[in-house]
Point group: C2
């Protein structure tokens, strides 16, 4: 079977898209007609259908599904089926940020790569890259290691030391990448130009997933300038809740937001 | 409602126990008669009944349940009900090592504190302690932050720098603990005397959960000498699979192993 990266390249060139649609369904933010667990699923299905032609990848955030209990995992399964049906060549990255030692990591890999058959999984490097080796026994899947995150508190440990921790993570992932080829890293757009340039220098062969992008073309230009086209640009709320800004229908607004971001990207780099 | 720490103190003094029974059910390691998802539940229920009188806490490892899909979460729920019924004063720590930024962390907190009603949750500090604040809005629950883990690769980042990263995590958790009072830290027994002494010096008000203890009394003495009695000593395989070593029935062997570890602890410290 082809690797995650090969499927990414195929989808990128077929659709001229590096857009990753984040799916973080907070029930409290959905319109009243999308009530309850089935309402959440219907809403997400609407977003998937509206973006099926624009997305290179989808990134459901597992926390939002887990919190609904067993029913949440049922709609997680149904959502994956919808994506496979509506947008069959796009990739699915489970955003679960798992991290545990070898024997346990084996079960997390089984969860997301076998049980739910996702293409990729976000993982946490705190326990060392050795703790990520079990994910490598799935050479056709992508392992997305946190490197530099976009939250305000990220600096506390990730920017600590000389060189800062995130740089050491980047260098270590690069080294591992040369053996396995299935790594990506997650680096927030909010710490853009300098840090992203540094990460690409230390880990030139590791593609990046970039969350935290705003609607601002400037920020996007900085990110793409630093990272090139081996990148997935994530937008979650900007697409899911575009209807709140525009007053249009949910699906029309989501499609419009996805198209717009894709156009902004294509104006900056050739895909 | 009482805090996690207060409930820990009550249970410790009632049962003279700081034993945490880890529940990491690998279906491939269970005897043939405990086949399938319901077999796993029956096996775990046997272990809970056999240790109900000895345990201060239970620590189910969520990865092993997740990997079974929705059915895994059903038996996770049933397991919690069994613990509440069979060992009503013992505490339940969900070992899930979650870590994500504020809005997502809120949903992880909801998952384990509301949906599954656990007493505590293990979390990952890589994204900074600010990312853990959402867990603090449950002041009656315990937040178990990874500090120094017991796996071979832990040194790569946790021992990095001067002072090493794990010491900075310990100091930061101590600072936060003085505001919230609901933190614990996870520190592996395999890096015992020196590191644990250091952690206790930097974070004197943060109790520790210690996994990775062997059957060796020596190691246990080192750990207890460094940590005192504000501690949970975890044993998973040593109890669950004690029947493989002893040739006794599963429950007799599990009860024997739990009793023995408790006696070894009580020979070293007064509870």
């Amino acid at each position: 079977m082809s690797t995650f990266y090969e499927r990414f390249l195929a989808r990128r060139s077929n659709k001229h898209s590096v857009l990753c649609v984040g799916l973080d369904p907070d029930p409290a933010l959905l319109p009243a007609q999308f009530n309850g667990v089935n309402g959440v699923l219907s809403f997400l299905q609407l977003i998937v259908r509206a973006t099926a032609n624009e997305a290179c990848a989808y990134k459901p955030n597992v926390a939002f599904f887990e919190a609904m209990g067993q029913a949440g995992w049922e709609i997680f399964t149904a959502l994956i089926e919808t994506i496979r049906k509506e947008s069959p060549e796009s990739l699915i990255v489970a955003d679960a940020k798992r991290g545990d030692l070898g024997n346990t990591a084996r079960f997390y890999a089984q969860t997301f790569f076998d049980t739910y058959d996702c293409d990729g999984l976000t993982v946490n490097p705190y326990m060392g890259l050795e703790s990520l080796h079990p994910y490598d026994s799935y050479p056709d899947r992508g392992v997305f290691t946190l490197c530099l995150t976009s939250n305000p508190g990220a600096a506390q440990f990730q920017l600590r030391g000389t060189p800062p921790l995130y740089e050491e993570v980047a260098a270590a992932v690069e080294e591992r990448q040369r053996i396995t080829g299935n790594y990506w890293m997650v680096a927030g757009a909010t710490r853009a130009s300098e840090s992203l340039t540094r990460i690409k220098k230390l880990a030139p062969s590791v593609p990046l997933l970039i969350p935290g992008i705003g609607a601002q073309g400037g920020e996007l230009a900085t990110v793409l300038n630093a990272c090139g086209t081996d990148v997935l640009i994530n937008s979650s709320r900007g697409i899911m809740y575009a209807y709140k800004e525009t007053g249009k229908d949910i699906d029309t607004a989501a499609n419009g937001a996805a198209l717009k971001l894709n156009q902004e990207i294509k104006a900056l780099v050739s895909l």
